[in-house]
Every structure is written in structure tokens, then in C-alpha cells.
């Protein structure tokens, strides 16, 4: 019990929080470093990491806190991206139109998927989310006007008036960083609010939740929609970042990647998936320099985390205090 008395004196100074703070400082200073050494690739890689971290955070909201395992979350990345891309191609270049429309479409899609899959449980839930994602995937392939299988290049990033230029890579990086922090804060408030207590309670014991008077379905559905919209936002950012959108953004492999990020980082906390996204995507990048078969190393690593450290990297860091 010595450790608990120690942590009481300085409760926030844990190895875990130190790590999170360090990570945030690195992320905040990265563009400066990139400017000094003149490496734009690194900046681009980390922009991608921030964007996918946001998607992982959104997945974690329903999976980690709500117990709703969505195996089709990449669909929202694609739908957000396509909504933006299609509007851009049709001449609607203002972000003030593109972004709300993209979020709205993602929200509606989540509403339909959620209304169906939330009536089921376990494997069926997973299969329905996957089925809808595959449906979105094949619909995108069928969109000949918008590149079909090959996807399409988006020539103009979202316009937000004269003083905001998303094509400025450093600015875009900081925009993604700020949005990620905002989303993390939003989700953190959400899971601790009354709404969040209902969601977490329903994960833990749904039968009891109904017995004490909660109509759980509508809360879970709302949570599902919020998660889909956040993921849609990261889809818009991703398409802006790559200036390109194609169906493979929505493939089930990408959905799997998002799950891996959440599990690897730790589903128990709001920030875990951010750590997971950084770890996963960096590893993938580094490993790809040595071998084409990153899975040979990533796979066993994920197994190790799933078997030995249920709380993911975040859980390991939190555990250090006791160890």
C-alpha cells in the first residue's frame, strides 16, 4: 500500500501520465523538428497518425466504453472522405459545406447501421457492422463517375476563406493535432457524463440497466452515431491529407487496423487509442523498411498484448506504479 500513499501525494505524476505528456510534447514540436531537418515525409507520416488516432478514439468510444465491437468502422473514414471528395468534384469547395455534409452523412449511415445491429449481440453485431462496411466499399467501387475502383484525385482541399490554407502542411498538421486533442477531451467528458455512465453500465450489465429503468437502446444508438460522426471527421481530414480517395480506405483490413490500434493502446482509457495509433503506425512504417511481411512481427505482438496485457500499452504504463 506504500505506492498508493505515494500516488496520493502527487496523484498525477505517474509513469503513465509522464509518458502521455512527453508524447504530446513530441507531437507538438514535431513540425519544428521537421522544418529544421527539412524532412516533409516525417510530417506527412505523423499527420496520418494523428488522423487515424482520431478514428481509433472514435472506435474506442463504442468498443471500449460501450462494448459495441464494430468491425466496420473504416466505412466512416471512407464515407466522410467520399462526401468531401464528391462535393469537391462537383464544385462545392467550401469546407463550411463539405464538412457538415460529411458528418451528417456519416451520422445517418451510423443511425441505420446502429438501428439494425444494436438489436443483436456478440458475433451477429460484428457481422452486421462488417456487412454494412462491405456494402459501402462495393458501392464506392461502383461509382464510375468518382473513379470507381481506382479512386479519384481531389484537386482542391477544403476552403475556409482566405486566412486558412489547408494546403500548408504545417498548418494542416496543427489543425489535425488540435482537432484530435479536442476530440479526446470531448470523449473524456462524454464517458464521465450521465450519458457515459449509461453507456458503460450497458456494457457491464445491460439487463440490470433496463431493470433500474434505462431504455438502453436509444443511448447506445446515440453513442454509435456520435462515434460514426467523429470517425467521419477523420475521414474528411484523411482525404484532405492525401488529396485522394479510393474504396480501399473502407476495406475490412483498415477496420481491423483501427481495432488493433484501440486494443494495442488500451481500451480502458480515452487516450489509449492515441498511444496505440502512434505505436502501430510507427511500427508498421519501420517494419516496412525491412520486410514486406510486417504481419509476422505485428501479429505476435498483438497476441502478446491481448494475452498478457489486457489494458494495452496504457495499461502497462499504469501498472508500472504498482510494480
Amino acid at each position: 500500500m506504500m505506492s498508493s500513499s505515494m500516488s496520493r501525494s502527487v496523484p498525477w505524476l505517474t509513469p503513465r501520465n509522464t509518458f502521455v505528456a512527453a508524447l504530446l510534447v513530441v507531437l507538438a514540436l514535431l513540425p519544428v523538428y521537421c522544418a529544421i531537418i527539412g524532412n516533409t515525409f516525417l510530417l506527412s507520416l505523423f499527420t496520418r497518425i494523428l488522423i487515424l488516432a482520431m478514428a481509433a478514439v472514435s472506435l474506442n468510444l463504442i468498443m471500449g466504453f460501450g462494448g459495441m465491437v464494430s468491425f466496420g468502422h473504416a466505412a466512416y473514414l471512407g464515407i466522410g472522405g467520399y462526401a468531401f471528395g464528391i462535393l469537391a468534384k462537383e464544385g462545392f469547395t467550401s469546407g463550411l459545406i463539405q464538412w457538415p455534409v460529411a458528418l451528417l452523412v456519416c451520422g445517418l449511415f451510423a443511425l441505420v447501421v446502429g438501428a439494425l445491429c444494436l438489436r443483436t449481440r456478440g458475433v451477429y453485431f460484428i457481422m452486421i457492422t462488417l456487412a454494412f462496411a462491405q456494402m459501402a466499399y462495393y458501392i464506392a467501387i461502383a461509382l464510375d463517375r468518382y473513379g470507381g475502383d481506382d479512386g479519384m484525385t481531389i484537386y482542391k482541399r477544403s476552403q475556409f476563406g482566405d486566412w486558412v490554407n489547408l494546403s500548408n502542411k504545417t498548418f494542416f498538421y496543427y489543425l489535425c493535432f488540435a482537432l484530435l486533442l479536442g476530440i479526446v477531451y470531448l470523449v473524456w467528458r462524454l464517458v464521465n457524463s450521465r450519458f457515459g455512465m449509461v453507456i458503460q453500465g450497458a456494457r457491464s450489465n445491460e439487463r440490470r440497466m433496463r431493470a433500474i429503468g434505462f431504455p438502453t437502446f436509444r443511448y447506445k444508438l446515440t453513442c454509435f452515431v456520435i462515434s460514426g460522426m467523429i470517425c467521419g471527421l477523420s475521414g474528411v481530414l484523411l482525404a484532405n491529407h492525401t488529396d485522394f480517395i479510393n474504396p480501399s480506405v473502407m476495406s475490412w483490413i483498415r477496420s481491423g487496423d483501427l481495432m488493433v490500434m484501440a486494443v494495442l493502446g488500451g481500451m480502458g482509457t480515452v487516450f489509449g487509442p492515441v498511444i496505440g495509433a502512434v505505436a502501430f503506425l510507427l511500427l508498421e512504417e519501420v517494419l516496412s523498411r525491412f520486410t514486406e511481411f510486417q504481419g509476422i512481427i505485428l501479429g505476435p505482438m498483438l497476441l502478446a498484448v491481448a494475452l498478457c496485457a489486457r489494458g494495452g500499452i496504457d495499461g502497462i504504463l499504469t501498472g508500472l506504479r504498482r510494480g
Binding site: 450519458f195 455512465m197 457491464s204 431493470a211 434505462f214
Partner: protein, 250 residues
Amino acid sequence: MLKVDGLTKRFGGIVASDNVVFEVARGELHAIIGPNGAGKTTLISQLAGELVPNAGRIEFDGSDITALRVHDRSLIGLARSFQITSLFPNFTALQNVTLAVQAHAGHSFRFWREACKEPELCEPARAALDRVGIGHRADTKVVNMSHGEHRQIELAMALATKPRMLLLDEPMAGLGPDESGRMVKTLLELKRDLTILLIEHDMEAVFALADKITVLVYGRVIASGDPASIRANAEVRQAYLGEQEAVTHV
């Protein structure tokens, strides 16, 4: 307060509730007893709305609630506790009870304020924990508590919903003699302001608490009356009490 009329529930060929009729008056503690498999839990599940009866009618406080859903029954003041402890293991005792309070504090589409710091949720929850005598353990995670404490939290949760009537499914199940004694004391106190329907195996507790007892055998009511008349009823003794000699000494 609660009126059950002709309630029938069949599972395939088995009749778990067979034309059950009884009535619980306001302020009464009404116990339902019966041997294992008599259909007691099936009965309470129908009262709580988890099972839909094949026939019959349930009336609560003058209105027909037969078709009402589980959460709606809870909201009109009919609270149940579970035979098998059914809590939220990774929440603290206080959080468990707070959820129960929250269920009755309007809708929960409130996304911003931290629920655990809202006094209007916490204070009634603390009061309910104090009432069942477990206030000192409020901030302990339920997963780290004993079975006896779980039963008490279970009761606190039912109380926190400010019910007009409690449906208690074997609150003494698995309790040691000391813990049972404490539970009986708590229930005696609750009895003063609440109508209670109690399903219980512990005869000592039933005869210490009940104003009225209904005996269920194979889904059928074979007797109903005050404790003395039940104890004297030959059919009841044969069907049920005969196996439990202890009861004659109560």
C-alpha cells in the same frame, strides 16, 4: 397496491405459473414461498416485466401494467432486486447506486457534466447505501466486495429508485447467519414505509418479516393467509414445510 389475476405462463409443456391469483395490500410485506421449481422467479420476472405472461392481468396501484416494458415499470415505482447478484462489477458501490438514482432523474442525454460529481445524484445514492448499512464502503469497487455486501448494494439500488413497491428475489440467498440477521433488520426498517413482495427460502426470515404469505407449488397457489394460518395449513405442511422441521420452532 399489486393485484395479480389469473396469471399463466407456459414454457412448452411446462406450466410455470398456473392461474396465479393474489393481492398485496399497501404497506404490507407479502412473502411468496414454495419448494424449488415452484415458479417463484418466473412469477417475479412477470411482475417486473421481463417475461410476458400467456394469460392473466397484473394491476399496480389501480392501473393495468401487464403490457408495460421493464424500464417503464421501474419508472412508475416497481423496483426489483435479483436473486443472483447483478451489479456493475467495475463500478464502485456508490457508482452502482448512483446509476439507479440517475435512471429516475429524467433522461440521461446529458453529455458534459461529470455524473459522479452531481450532488443531486450522489446524495440520494449515499443515503440509500447508509440505509442498508454499507455507507462506509461507498468508494470501493464492487468486484472487491463480499457476497453479503453485494446483497446490500443490490437492495440499496432498488431503494435508490424511490420505489413505491419492492420486488425482492431471495435477498438472503447465500448469506451467513450474521449477514441474514442484518438483512432482516434492514428489511424490518424498510417495511415501515414500503410495500414489499418477498420471495425467500429462509423460513426463519419469512416468518419474522411477513404480514401475509402465499404458497406456490408447481406454479399454483395452494394457500394464502397470515403466517399463523399458513403454518397450521395441512396441505402446506405436506407440500413444503414438512421437510423443514426448523420452521415449527420459529
